[in-house]
Amino acid sequence: MGGDLDSFNQLVLRWERPIFALAYRVIGREEEARDVAQETFLRAFRALPGFKGQAKFSSWLYRITLNLCRDWMRKERRTPVSQAPEGIDIIELAGEATPHETIEQMVGRKELGRAVSKAMATLPEEQRTAIILKEYHGLTFQEIADMLDCPLSTVKTRLYQGLSVVRKQLEQAGVSSDSLGK
């Protein structure tokens, strides 16, 4: 059993960041996302004997995470928030800086990220989830359809609608396609 635990913790190490990122983007709160990630792995470990490998391990984890996020939102009766600090931490920003990027560019990139976060928070849950799974986790349309228990065409429609809303929100926030080049 100790060996199982060690092996499982290897998987935790591999998947904790994607799972946390998924939870964070779905519910928009860092601390709660961390709790959801922890609970995901706990549930996965308990349910491990029942996992027969029909789905990919990652898809199985994602499904558990999404269920927990849904439970959390239902319980808290909350919509996702765009959790962004008031100011910009230059030191933290410097750590994330890419080579050949000026401070102005870094700040601009961070602010664009905030605008995207706010725009995503306005989406209905199913559209937001579809975009997150596709855009940030690279799932196929079919995998998303299986995970969300909906037809393939529905997934594509949700993506289209969600992306269109985000585009409009960004335009309203003064973000244009030129912003990326700045």
Partner: protein, 254 residues
């Protein structure tokens, strides 16, 4: 309006067959709405890439809880146990003594013979001597009064003599000018003492401040050194994690 949402999304995520792709390419040459829509959604996708979750050290580990041993149940002590004979005898003596005290038992053997009495009602037989001391205590002899009066007179005399001594010690009255001079001297002395105290206090504050500054500087330098050490340790730890991830990923690919 052109109803090709699914196609646009498929094209956007490169999820069309070759035939579908060519067909949609041809469609976009004549449909500006789809063409502009696709360009706009591509830009939106690029913007989405800027939203990243906070980078924190999660350190999630699943651990097994230690299950404690069930609590031992200690056997209860029996309510009645065997006691040795001397214990029983001692208990009997105690009970008898308590009963005797409560009953106020009196055993007398005198010229009238042997008598045993119990109870508290014996006021008629209380001897008269018990009340006698109260009566004699009131009768104070006159000689005691005389001694007391003499002592009081002595005390009064001594108090009067000490009061006159104090007047002598105060001496003759000073003139007003002399009083002013003395007061001025006293004020000057007090001011001088005060200035000395303030100077010493200021010196002490300056020294304390300097000492605190040096301590703070040492703490900051120490903290910077620790931070530098931690940073190096974190870099090493992250390198190890990356190597571990590569190994895990390589195993999964196999």
């Amino acid at each position: 309006m052109c109803d090709s949402k699914e196609l646009i999304v498929g094209y956007l995520y490169d999820d069309l067959t070759e035939t579908e792709r060519r067909s949609f390419d041809a469609h976009m040459t004549v449909c500006g709405e789809c063409r502009d829509g696709l360009i706009a959604l591509r830009a939106t996708r690029a913007h989405l890439g800027l939203w990243s979750p906070p980078v924190r050290d999660l350190g999630i580990r699943v651990v097994r809880e230690e299950i404690g041993e069930p609590a031992h149940v200690l056997p209860m002590r029996p309510r009645w146990t065997w006691m040795p004979a001397f214990g029983l005898a001692a208990a009997a003596v105690l009970v008898l003594a308590a009963a005797t005290a409560i009953a106020n038992l009196e055993v007398r053997y005198d010229a009238n013979g042997f008598a045993v009495r119990t109870g508290w009602a014996r006021s008629s037989e209380v001897p008269a001597q018990v009340q006698a001391p109260a009566a004699t205590a009131v009768a104070v002899p006159a000689s005691d009064f005389a001694r007391l009066e003499q002592r009081l007179n002595e005390l009064e005399r001594s108090v009067r003599s000490s009061a006159s001594g104090m007047q002598v010690a105060s001496g003759p009255r000073m003139s007003d000018a002399e009083i002013f001079r003395r007061v001025r001297e006293m004020v000057d002395e007090a001011e001088s003492r005060q200035q000395t105290v303030v100077s010493k206090r200021l010196l002490q504050v300056v020294q304390d401040f300097d000492r605190a500054r040096q301590t703070d500087l040492a703490t900051i330098q120490h903290g910077l050194g620790t931070y530098q050490g931690l940073t190096n340790a974190e870099i090493a730890q992250q390198r190890d994690m990356l190597n571990q991830l590569y190994r895990v990923a390589a195993r999964q690919e196999k």
